[in-house]
Structures are given as structure tokens and as C-alpha cells.
């Protein structure tokens, strides 16, 4: 039992290590002091107003949201198609294809970023929003495939076969049977893809056209001097979006699925 208590304490300390810095950012977002660090001098929302008034940040925010949403749509769409092929069909070289599909994770992001950039340079194409979009989509694709694939394996093939034997076309079967059953995975995959895009900095620094900033690159640029209180407020907003939205969605999903039963 003494050993167990030691394990418990150890685990608690590791969790503390993981969350204390994040909590510090969340608290400092409401600090009225004009400096970004401690001590906390009082409660204030002024840094959120400042954020709202900062045109560069608002623009970066819009870019990131649009980019994240479009990345989610693209990578989820092609990811679902690929997962269907992997789970529902037998074909030669499946293991190899699976490795190819997760290869964007296996290549270091820095290398991937430089490679794509050099290819683009060879094509004499300028860096653009489109580059960020396709680039983020390819980075998010493996995660979408893994999430959707895991879920798809759990959906019995019999449902689809029943629909087919009752006269539904393959397309009808997909939209009326498979897709509704797959919806939780679609949402999970899309949220995952959105977060990956919204959070990406490693490749984005290389790919963004000059003058275009996403939220992470904007923060990175602002960090040169010190952590300003605005960065803390921005951090708070980002955490609310990337943590709050999935939690809320998951909570709601659980609530509704319980109600049904």
C-alpha cells in the first residue's frame, strides 16, 4: 500500500507539472498589471478588449479559423474515403498503403515544409493561402485516417449488406447507413484536423506568404521582446476554442445519446 501511495503522489505531481503552466497562462489573462508576468495585481478584462482592438491579431485569428475549417473539410473528406477502402475492401499491398497514408507524420515536419517549398519554387509558384491549406490538410490526414478507421472497424458490415440486399445503391448505402453511423468519427476527425491546423507553427512559418499571419505565427512574432499580457489573453481564447469546443461537443453527444436510450 505504501508503494501505491507513492505511485499516486508521483502521478499527481506529473499532472501538476503538465497543468500548472497552462493554468498560469489562464490566470494571467485576467491580470490587470501592464506586464505579462506575475504577480497578479487585480482582475481585469482590459487585455481582451485590447485583443479585440488589435487589427493584426483579429486578422490572424480570421485566417486561422478559415484555414482550420477548410483543412478539416478537406482532410476529413479524403480521409474518410481512404479509410473506407482500408476497412471495407481486401486488396493487395494494404499494409504498404496504410504506411503511405500515415507517412506525412513519419516525415519530420521541418523537412516536409522545406520539401514542399522547394517543389513550389521549382514550379515558380508563390507561397499562398492555398499552400497553407493543402499543406495543413496533408499534415492532418494521417490522424483523420487513424480516427475514422478505428471507428469504421467497429461498424458491422452487416448493416451495409442488409441495406444493399434491400435494394439500396452503394452511394445510397453510404449516405443513409454508413455515414450516419460514422458521424461521431467524422466529427472527431474534423475537430482533430481543425486543431492540428489551428495549432500548427512548425510548417506554417515556412509556408505562409509574407504578410499573412496565423495565430501561432502572430504570437511567435510578438514573443520577440517578452510575454505581453495580450498574449496571455490570446492564449486564453485559443485554449477555450481548442479545448472548450471538443469538450462541449463530447459532453453534448453523451447527453443526447443518453437521452435517446
Amino acid at each position: 500500500m505504501r508503494v501505491w501511495n507513492f505511485l499516486k503522489l508521483y502521478t499527481a505531481l506529473v499532472y501538476f507539472f503538465m497543468f500548472a503552466p497552462i493554468v498560469a497562462v489562464l490566470l494571467l489573462a485576467f491580470n490587470s498589471s501592464q506586464f505579462g508576468g506575475f504577480p497578479i495585481e487585480g482582475f481585469s478584462l482590459r487585455w481582451f478588449y485590447k485583443l479585440w482592438e488589435n487589427e493584426a491579431i483579429v486578422r490572424a485569428f480570421q485566417t486561422s479559423m478559415l484555414l482550420g475549417a477548410m483543412t478539416a473539410v478537406i482532410s476529413t473528406t479524403i480521409g474518410i474515403l481512404a479509410s473506407l477502402a482500408l476497412v471495407r475492401y481486401q486488396f493487395r499491398g494494404k499494409n504498404f498503403i496504410t504506411t503511405v497514408l500515415i507517412s506525412p507524420v513519419l516525415v519530420p515536419e521541418t523537412v516536409l515544409a522545406v520539401g514542399v517549398l522547394i517543389f513550389l519554387r521549382w514550379l515558380s509558384m508563390p507561397r499562398s493561402f492555398l499552400l497553407l491549406l493543402v499543406g495543413h490538410s496533408i499534415i492532418a490526414l494521417p490522424f483523420v485516417v487513424l480516427v475514422v478507421q478505428a471507428r469504421l472497424t467497429g461498424i458491422k458490415k452487416e448493416y451495409e449488406e442488409a441495406a444493399r440486399s434491400l435494394g439500396a445503391s452503394p452511394v445510397q448505402t453510404f449516405f443513409q447507413v454508413t455515414l450516419p453511423l460514422l458521424m461521431p468519427a467524422v466529427f472527431a476527425g474534423a475537430l482533430f484536423a481543425f486543431t492540428i491546423s489551428f495549432d500548427n507553427i512548425t510548417a506554417t512559418i515556412f509556408w505562409r506568404p509574407s504578410g499573412m499571419e496565423t495565430v501561432p505565427t502572430q504570437i511567435f512574432g510578438m514573443l520577440r521582446n517578452s510575454v505581453s499580457p495580450e498574449i496571455n489573453a490570446l492564449g486564453f481564447v485559443m485554449i477555450v476554442i481548442t479545448v472548450g469546443v471538443p469538450l462541449l461537443a463530447g459532453g453534448l453527444a453523451r447527453y443526447f445519446s443518453r437521452k435517446k436510450v
Binding site: V14, F19, G37, I102, T110, V111, G115, I118, V145, P246
Partner: protein
């Protein structure tokens, strides 16, 4: 249905968009890196098509690049080992606990993945910086009059990396521990093993695949990054990725950037290949599909 024995094109239609995208954005660019590494850099952002080994020669002879490779290897090993040491026990605890709200511990483990990387990294300035929590506490307690310098050195970079990559480690170890038959350890106990023996000879070996997967991920992710040292490190704390960043973004020396990138790809690729030969890729995909 005589058709079933013939070639079925349907899965390939479904795979086509993904495979095309990966071909255009991963396969082709990787070949371009290799080709560009033989080009010659003439001036800022100007390069000449050539087949010469100047960049490779520079890479192999200039001690600066070797230092960077060495530094990166050293730092990646330190981060990986510390993450394993810090991560194993929590993973074990979560897998074995009978705590009713175990899901909460798991949820908390996944949450950091959703918190922005750059926010998690810069948050350490609030902890270890001159106006950080630790210095504030020390000065308040009267243990020191001036803030102790903890930031912008290798230590801060290591802490930042561990903080960001620890959840990968814990999750991977947890997945392999969770998959172990719960009756094995009690069985070993009834056969006369002490709790420690039962753990060491039954559970520990079975958890090694997860530990290996976690170590691989942390090692490769650390070895390929460049942003963390820029935020938490001092001028002397650079990784191999920082050289790539400098070559491409600062000096606009594309051929050298390509040479450096290709080397990093090969070095980290060797690690991944070695791992997949030994362990296979299944363990890795398991943790992600949780």
C-alpha cells in the same frame, strides 16, 4: 459473381485522392530535396542548376554542422529518457487504478494535445522567468534577493520539450499496459512471486512495446523541431532543425537548406526504420486511434 476474382478497382478510387495528395506533397517534395542538394547557391535566394557536391562537402567538413547533429542527438536522448522516467509511473497508475473517475485522468491526459503548442511552450516563461512563479516564491520566502536565471538555456528547452511531448509517452505506455490481461499479475503472485517480481517479470516486459513506441515518438519529434529552442533557449541552444530554419528562412540558401533537410530526413528515417524492423508499426497507430 465472376467479377469478384478479378481486379477490384473500387478501393483504389476511394484511395486515389489521398494517395495523389501524398504523392504530390510528400513523395515528390522529398525527391526535390535530394535534387536541390546538388544545386549551387549563387547569392541570396539565387541558385543555379548544377550537379556538384559543394553543399555535401560543406556539411561533412564544417564542424558547425557536426556540432548541431551532436547537440540534437544529445538533447533528444535526454528528453526521451526523462519523458520515459516521468511518464511510466503515471501510465501504470492510470492503467491499474480502481478509481471510479479513471476517465477523468484519461481525459486530462488528452487535454494537453488540444492546447496550443506555442502557448504551452511560452507558459514556462511564467513559471521559470524572472517574473515567474518560482522566482516570485523564492523572493517572497526571502531565500533570494534577485531572481535566479532559469530561462533561455538548455534546461528550459528540455523542460519545454518534456512538457509538450510527455502526453505522447504516457498515452503509449498506458495503451500497452491496459492491453495486459489483468489476471497475469495475480497468477504470478499465487505462484509465489513477490509483488515486485510479479511486476518485473510479467507486467514490465509486456509494457515495453508501448514504452518503445513512446520513446520513438518523443525522440523523433524532438529531433525534428526548431521552434522550442527559439522560444525557450539562448543563442547557443540550437538544434539541427534551427540550421534548416536559418538556411531557408534567414539566409535564403535553398540548396544548403535542402542538403540539411535531406540529412535530417535520413537520420530520423533510420531511427524509424530501425524501430519498425524491431517492433512493427502497429503499436504506434494504437495510441493514436484511442
Amino acid at each position: 459473381m465472376a467479377e469478384t476474382k478479378e481486379f477490384d478497382a473500387r478501393p483504389w478510387y476511394l484511395l486515389a485522392p489521398s494517395l495523389l495528395a501524398i504523392f504530390a506533397l510528400v513523395v515528390v517534395p522529398m525527391s526535390f530535396i535530394l535534387v536541390y542538394s546538388f544545386y549551387e547557391n549563387v547569392d541570396l535566394a539565387v541558385d543555379r542548376v548544377a550537379f556538384q557536391f559543394g553543399n555535401w562537402q560543406e556539411l561533412l567538413t564544417d564542424g558547425y554542422y557536426r556540432t548541431a547533429i551532436w547537440k540534437t542527438l544529445r538533447l533528444s536522448v535526454i528528453v526521451t529518457v526523462l519523458a520515459a522516467v516521468l511518464g511510466y509511473i503515471p501510465a501504470y497508475f492510470i492503467a491499474m487504478t480502481k478509481f471510479r473517475h479513471k476517465w477523468l485522468l484519461l481525459l486530462l491526459l488528452i487535454l494537453p494535445f488540444w492546447v496550443s503548442f506555442i502557448i504551452r511552450t511560452l507558459s514556462w516563461i511564467h513559471i521559470m522567468g524572472n517574473q515567474g512563479v518560482i522566482n516570485g516564491l523564492l523572493m517572497w520566502l526571502g531565500l533570494t534577493d534577485e531572481p535566479i536565471k532559469m530561462m533561455y538555456n538548455e534546461f528550459a528547452v528540455i523542460v519545454g520539450f518534456i512538457h509538450v511531448f510527455l502526453p505522447y509517452m504516457i498515452l503509449n505506455i498506458y495503451v500497452s499496459l491496459e492491453g495486459i490481461d489483468q489476471n497475469l499479475e495475480p497468477a504470478a503472485r499465487t505462484l509465489g512471486a513477490t509483488p515486485w517480481q510479479a511486476y518485473r517479470e510479467v507486467t514490465l516486459p509486456l509494457s515495453l512495446p508501448g514504452l518503445a513506441a513512446g520513446c520513438l515518438l518523443v525522440f523523433v519529434l524532438t529531433g525534428g523541431s526548431y521552434v522550442t529552442p527559439l522560444i525557450l533557449g539562448g543563442p547557443g541552444d540550437f538544434l539541427y532543425g534551427n540550421l534548416i530554419y536559418d538556411a531557408v528562412v534567414v539566409e535564403l540558401n535553398w540548396p544548403m537548406g535542402a542538403t540539411l533537410s535531406f540529412t535530417l530526413l535520413v537520420l530520423l528515417g533510420l531511427v524509424v526504420t530501425l524501430y519498425s524492423r524491431l517492433m512493427g508499426m502497429n503499436q504506434l497507430t494504437k495510441a493514436f486511434s484511442q
